[in-house]
Amino acid sequence: MSAESRPELRIIGFLCNWCSYGGADTAGVARLNQPTDLRIVRVPCSGRMDPMFIAKAFYGGADGVLVSGCHPRDCHYSEGNFYARRRLELFLRFLPVLGIDPQRFHYTWVSASEGQRWQQTVTDFVERIHSLGPLPQLCESDPAMKQLAQCLGGGE
């Protein structure tokens, strides 16, 4: 099954402006073919990632969420990605509580020069989500979601 012939899934990528967004640009400039399912939201730093954004994406109907930032020690803001790693790692463990298969979420590091790595990351992740299929409908009033909001703080 080629990426073109099957129905698209809803996959959202949060990319830091300095490394991964640049890496996705590099992949584009090099015309590295990628599945069209992924849509990218630009954030200044992976450290800006409030896990609530990801939860909201899933509750809004996203079938997969990808976060990508600068490689550890390469962060434009020195340590944003360390904060991101800590939070996202925690969030990953919380996903089952929300009734979401943790496989649907992935975070990684791609630098501005790594166009090919980005292509690979997108392709693999989109494949993975396709093998999992669409996410069953979640309900935002779910008590687990409320609990998450309390645990993580912020968000809205």
Partner: protein
């Protein structure tokens, strides 16, 4: 709100695989969109004029452009929007080129995706607020890191233009790799005659403070207001007293200290001045060799020194300097050929590197300019040069071209003939790359006037036989095996990033590429900038570069610094965090996480603690926003509301697109 949407064809770059008219059509049904159109080149002058015209005609108060990456033209369009009389932050971009048309082949899927991304930008824009920049004063001083030819040029250009310059060099003398060279291509100028006077200029310039034998330990702050911590390494010699007479070197009993400047072709004393023209011309004790420092016995140099400069107790000293801009000019390293087993992997003394050969050719080098075989000191007759040693070879992680080895090999082959008229040089090469001014002519001269024999092909093996080295390889033009008996083999070792570049990049918060070279802001539009405002690049720290290219880039970097300071006051980026004091509970978690220390504690009228952001210090990362349990500290232009608006847009069923 009245939003105008412009879908760019980018010639056929986007329109080739995206139906731009359909995207514009879909945009018309998006909330608050009052006007939508598609245009050929939105970034061109007519394209930008069309935006300005539409703003007045349709009374627009926000603009979305769906085109290339915002990393390319966000600033261009912000200026356009400003010219149209709107706040520059009432603008959003959708990246439908790099992230859509160039990576997907299916026009229908691409078009849907372009609609989604445009929708996302519209939704974000609906939550945008006008933002104002603030001005702040800059420290009109520049830090130049690295005292090679690029650093020297950058420092002199800045200093001549009236800026105060702090030049930090980690070796005990400036001059870098160029100081080690004998001659330079394609003019065969003597290297030290070109560089020497420039080095003296640095030493004598009233605007330049030189810290040699020093490292950058930390850099804090931001464009206009950096603070650099410099560690001046202990040299065990009081440089204020040392006159560089060199008497200590004569008498030091340790004669086997490694001579870095001469690439280990010779040895030197434990106390040493690298070369006679060194700037500053000061002695340094090699702590790992000095008898006195290791065992406490000796102390000869202290007795000998006529100016009483020796100080065995000296410690590293820490200096801080405030600067407004930084130029990185840390140069390059050379590939270690020992990974190539087939070239002897450092086992054969008569297989040397190009830079060692350079020292051997130099009249001030260890052999006084006599070309000799390291094994027996005899003059070689057959000299074989092998190019691309650690260049254009994926198997050793160096797939890139080192750029100038073709040229220096030709130079060295020419000089060989000058030194030993009855010698014969052979050059094994892959391609000849000689694109500079006068370069191709130079290669021709090597062949035609100096009889250098060029063999196109890779060397498969070097092995000793009857006091010679046999170089065996393929001549791919002849389609035959060739074998040359060599007296001396010179490996044209390739360029790699300088040792310590990675650590420096971390300290300065700039990026490096896959190979450890510093990454420029944009390969074409920002070749001397980094992605960190106020930090610039000069020379081979950014990638392989020869002397003319290094010097040009150094002057370009100096021009950038001058341009930066010419504004008088700098304006801060208003994409910073702000605190909603009503929501803030004063926990100060944001202050703890902020990597720049931009959040300070203040008291409100009731005397309760509240967070406040120092706008000129905040770099706009948003780490604080994600930390605050109250959602009280929000990053302007990337607020929770804005990001969630984008997420929501993407989560909705596709808008508009006349479903077939």
């Amino acid at each position: 709100m009245r939003i105008g949407v412009f879908i760019c064809h980018c010639g056929s770059n986007i329109a080739g695989t995206v139906d731009c008219e359909a995207v514009a059509e879909a945009a018309r049904s998006m909330p608050d969109v009052a006007f939508a159109t598609d245009s050929m080149y939105t970034c061109s002058e007519p394209g930008q004029e069309a935006i300005i015209k539409a703003v007045t005609e349709h009374r627009l108060d926000g603009i979305v452009v769906a085109s290339c990456t915002p990393r390319m033209h966000e600033r261009t369009f912000r200026r356009t929007v400003e010219r149209a009389g709107l706040n520059p932050y009432m603008f959003e971009m959708a990246n439908i080129r790099e992230h859509v048309s160039w990576i997907g082949r299916d026009k229908k899927a691409n078009t849907t995706k372009a609609v989604d991304l445009t929708h996302m930008a519209v939704e974000k824009l609906r939550h945008n607020r006008p933002l104002q920049s603030k001005s702040f004063a800059a420290t009109r001083r520049v830090l130049v890191i690295g005292g090679g030819v690029a650093g020297i040029q950058a420092a002199l250009d800045c200093a001549d233009a009236g800026l105060e310059v702090v030049l930090v060099e980690r070796n005990s003398t400036i001059g870098g790799k160029m100081a080690q060279l004998d001659k330079t291509f394609p003019t065969v100028d003597c290297s030290s005659c070109v560089l020497g006077p420039r080095m003296v200029d640095v030493a004598q310039h009233p605007n330049i403070t030189l810290y040699a034998y020093s490292d950058i330990q930390a850099v804090s702050g931001f464009v206009g207001n950096f603070e650099a911590t410099i560690r001046k390494k202990a040299s065990y010699v009081d440089w204020d007293k040392c006159t560089g007479c060199g008497e200590c070197m004569e008498k030091c009993p340790v004669k086997d200290a490694p001579d870095e400047f001469n690439e280990h072709l010779a040895t030197t004393r434990a106390i040493n001045i690298p070369f006679p023209q060194a700037i500053p011309k000061k002695a340094v004790i090699d702590a790992s060799r000095c008898k006195r420092l290791i065992t406490g016995k000796c102390g000869v140099c202290a007795k000998i020194c006529p100016s009483d400069a020796i100080d065995y107790e000296q410690q590293d000293t820490i200096i801080t300097e405030k600067v407004g801009a930084i130029i990185i000019a840390t140069g390059y390293g050379l590939f270690d050929h020992k990974v190539y087993g087939q070239y002897g992997a450092g086992r054969f003394p008569d297989v040397i590197t190009s830079i060692q050969y350079e020292r051997m050719l130099s009249a001030s080098g260890p052999t006084g300019g006599h070309v000799q075989r390291p094994s027996d000191g005899k003059e070689p007759k057959n000299v074989v040069f092998i190019q691309c040693v650690g260049s254009r070879d994926k198997s050793v992680g160096r797939p890139y071209c080192s750029g100038f080895c073709c040229m220096y090999t030709a130079k060295q082959a020419i000089l060989t003939k000058d030194h030993i008229p009855d010698s014969q040089s052979y050059v094994f090469y892959m391609d000849i790359r000689s694109p500079g001014k006068g370069y191709d002519e130079f290669i021709r001269r090597a062949v035609e006037e100096y009889g250098v024999r060029y063999v196109r092909g890779r060397v498969s093996r070097i092995f000793p036989q009857n006091g010679h080295l046999v170089v065996r390889g393929a001549d791919t033009l002849m389609g035959a095996q060739v074998q040359v008996e060599a007296d001396l083999v010179v490996l044209a070792v390739g360029v790699e990033s300088a040792p310590g570049a990675k650590e420096l990049a971390e300290t300065l918060r700039v990026s490096t590429d896959t190979y450890g070279f510093f990454l420029e802001g944009h390969p074409k539009l920002k070749p001397v900038e980094t992605n960190t405002a106020g930090v610039y690049l000069a020379g081979a720290c950014q990638g392989p570069k020869d002397i003319p290219a290094s010097v040009s880039q150094a002057s370009a970097a100096a021009a950038k610094v001058l341009g930066l300071f010419a504004k008088g006051e700098l304006t801060s980026d208003p994409q910073v965090a702000t605190v909603d004091q009503r929501r803030c509970v004063g926990c100060m978690k944001c202050a703890k996480t902020c990597p720049f220390g931009a959040v300070k504690e203040v008291e409100d009228r009731a005397g309760d603690p509240k967070a406040e952001v120092v706008e000129t210090v905040c770099q706009g990362c948003g780490i604080c926003s994600a930390t605050c349990p109250q959602g009280a500290i929000q990053l302007n232009h990337f607020t929770d509301d804005q990001i969630l608006a984008e997420v929501n847009a993407l989560c909705q069923p596709n808008l508009g697109l006349n479903s077939e």
